[in-house]
Symmetry: C2
Subunit: 239 residues, 2 copies
């Protein structure tokens, strides 16, 4: 599980507690606010989960090894670019990913405003907790508990226990490598002006996650684009 | 939802927030610790749920009007006398009770030790949150959120949407009235010595909730026992 820039040390502790409650161990905290992070970790009775938590500077780094990245949040104030899955319909997706040996990351944004559009560009889907329109915003620690509960019980809920075996999905880091090479191709081919670069990377990320190439697909496409790039940079073939 | 003697005002607030998040409104607090109760209710930004919460002196009073009373807790330190239902298997039970027009209470014990054996004697079943053996005990606010989430999504999970219509269950208060009359019968019939009274009431409560008589059943059985009691107290019929 990944917490992006959490502020409240009580929430960090509560998230760690929920992980332990449902038998999970891996917590990564992205760019925490230092004083509160130290406070949470040094709290009396801090869980082993918290003591062993990773810390990274970016979300990209935190989810680099993962094959299914799930953002969380409410949809009240945003129109998501990713597919939206209701939390109570998540079980088959989780089951399938586990069955093919994937690594899942569940990502929570800061308390105040949740995940940004940039954060979400690393996500394959947005998980929506079905809260009431009158009070859609959940406390972070409680949202974490509800999501982990759903994932922990997914295997005993999922009707489709015998899913067909499918190939391993590409990791987040591998997809980003591909996006980078494609972007270089675009540049080299004069496909877009430099001012569009940021937007292109964002859209590329969304596209690649929507397509969901396997690790092998990704290697192949990467090979192709590297070859094209080499050709583009070398200039037109001499006759 | 019913909270029995909660201590931490943050937990009371978190429980109220979770109710609002999942579209529930009724919170009853049994015998709260006064200073913390006042603090929680007067907190800035306290939810409408908290401001409108009921307060009762006893759990019996809090669940009097309910037809399905569900206690919550972990099973680590106790051997329950009630049927145990795993939280993620609760949906059909909730659906059925709603379909027949019942009123459900979900009961949470104090943070330190949970519901007592006496508290549980008012419950038809004990709901077990499937936590990990290494860290079974959940934070109260998080446990509340997880349970309410499951109940709120029950209708969209339950495969058995077309349950046969069944009769309305007897309310908790009505069952207790019956238990009282049966006990009077036992006394009058010399069925048990006075020192056993407390134990009898406890066992009677468990038995009646296990049997689950409808409102009409309960009225009938009550009528029978009242008649027997009258006869017992009047003495043997004169020839």
């Amino acid at each position: 599980m990944v917490l992006v820039s959490p502020r409240n040390p009580l929430n960090i502790g509560a998230a760690a507690r929920a992980l332990a409650n449902f038998g999970f161990a891996q917590l990564t905290v992205v760019a925490p606010y230092e004083p509160h992070w130290d406070e949470a970790r040094s709290a009396v009775g801090a869980d082993a989960v918290l003591k062993n938590a990773n810390r990274t500077g970016s979300l990209a780094e935190a989810v680099g090894h993962c094959t299914l990245v799930l953002g969380t949040g409410t949809l009240t104030y945003r129109k998501p670019e990713q597919p939206v899955v209701k939390l109570h319909h998540l079980a088959p997706l989780v089951e399938q990913e586990m069955a093919r040996g994937g690594r899942i990351a569940l990502v929570f944004g800061p308390e105040k405003h949740g995940l940004t559009r940039e954060d979400l560009s690393w996500c394959h889907a947005l998980v929506e907790i079905p809260t009431h329109p009158d009070q859609p915003s959940m406390n972070l620690g409680q949202a974490v508990a509800v999501c982990l509960y759903e994932i922990a019980t997914a295997s005993s809920r999922s009707a489709s226990a015998n899913l067909p075996e499918s190939k391993a999905a590409a990791s987040s880091a591998h997809l980003e490598l591909l996006a980078g090479v494609i972007e270089q191709n675009m540049d080299a081919a004069g496909y877009s002006p430099t001012v569009m670069q940021q937007a292109n990377r964002h859209d590329l990320r969304l596209l690649l996650r929507r397509l969901g190439p396997t690790e092998r697909d990704t290697r192949r496409i990467l090979g192709l684009f590297r070859r094209i790039l080499w050709r583009l940079e070398k200039g037109p073939r001499g006759k």
